[in-house]
Amino acid sequence: MKKNTIYGLMAEFSTAEQLLDAAHRTSGAGYRRIDAFSPFPIEGLAEAVGFHGTRLPLVVLLAGIAGGCAGFFLQYYGAVTSYPINVGGRPLNSWPAFVPITFELIILFAAGGAVLGMLAMNGLPTPYHPVFNVPRFALASRDRFFLCIKARDPMFDLEKTKRFLATLNAREVSEIEV
């Protein structure tokens, strides 16, 4: 019954190397629901906590294609279908002139896709999050590195996990309330 009041356990480290190493050992120990927090991106850390690849590039590609089509057909419709007018003796479908706007819209849509996609996949915005309950977590945006094993993890057992984390020579291990 304690479980559902606890989000997980948080171990604090002082260097990136320690955290990375700890993360490897944790997943090595069979923990699956783990997460690591660092003040800057650390190579390999994501993989270490069991994350494999993102679909973001695909989203961007699709968005870009969508933008391109929208861009060109908007112009085609306006200039050829909706209200055809002779402008300076140029053909109605002067497609070379339509290129720039098409291109701009590709970029616009793709960029939008990248940003919104990233936020959405990261589940942001989440102003409230249990990890913020850990008093020292504020340092995660400064110079401290944290490893978190969530209570949802099948292997999670408050005492055992605490002990396990202690073996990772964390500076400190604390509980995260929900």
């Binding site: 209200y83 007018i85 915005p125 102003p127 409230y128 913020f132 008093p135 020292r136 977590f137």
Partner: protein, 216 residues
Amino acid sequence: MAQIFHHSTNTIARVSIYGAVLLLLLLGYTVDVVNNSSYVTEVHNARPQPVPFSHKHHVGELGLDCRYCHASVEVSSSAGMPPTQTCMTCHSQIWTGAAMLEPVRASYRDSVPISWTRVNAVPDFVYFNHSIHVAKGVGCTTCHGPIAEMNITWRQESLYMRWCLECHNAPENYLRPRSEVFNSFYRAPKNQQELGLRLMKEYKVQKLTNCTTCHR
């Protein structure tokens, strides 16, 4: 570190994002609705007039021809508004006492013109010519609506450029035989399409969509 935000803010945050998007779409939609509302277009707004002249009575019931009052419609850009004189041709004999008609008599007596409220108006930079439309088989009611049923005249169409172009792009959908132009009870036949196309050939109707047709 203590939480800055309450648990609920997560939901609020997400909702507000979708909300913003929705709001934008809604705004655009509203603008469109307002633009086409009778508030802006005056469509179907019966305008109060100094004399409650009823086209229903004069055209619908008495069967006056449009040209009796709008005399210059076939020769001039303007259809022409009847001088008080025209009203008095009849109303010096009938309804001579009608209170309703006092402004007309007054106008005739003191030769002070009646100022009617304009019902169908286009902006000043639009140069519309009645005579050519009439000559090419565009009926009065095509633009002015069921005039024979209007007690107080209202505007039937928005008179937006978009609306003008509907006909200028596809006259065949609207043309009628010249003989029917002033027929206020005309109903388009089943075969309007082919009739229209035939009339276009016959009357040499062009699809004039270039700007100086109306703007100079």
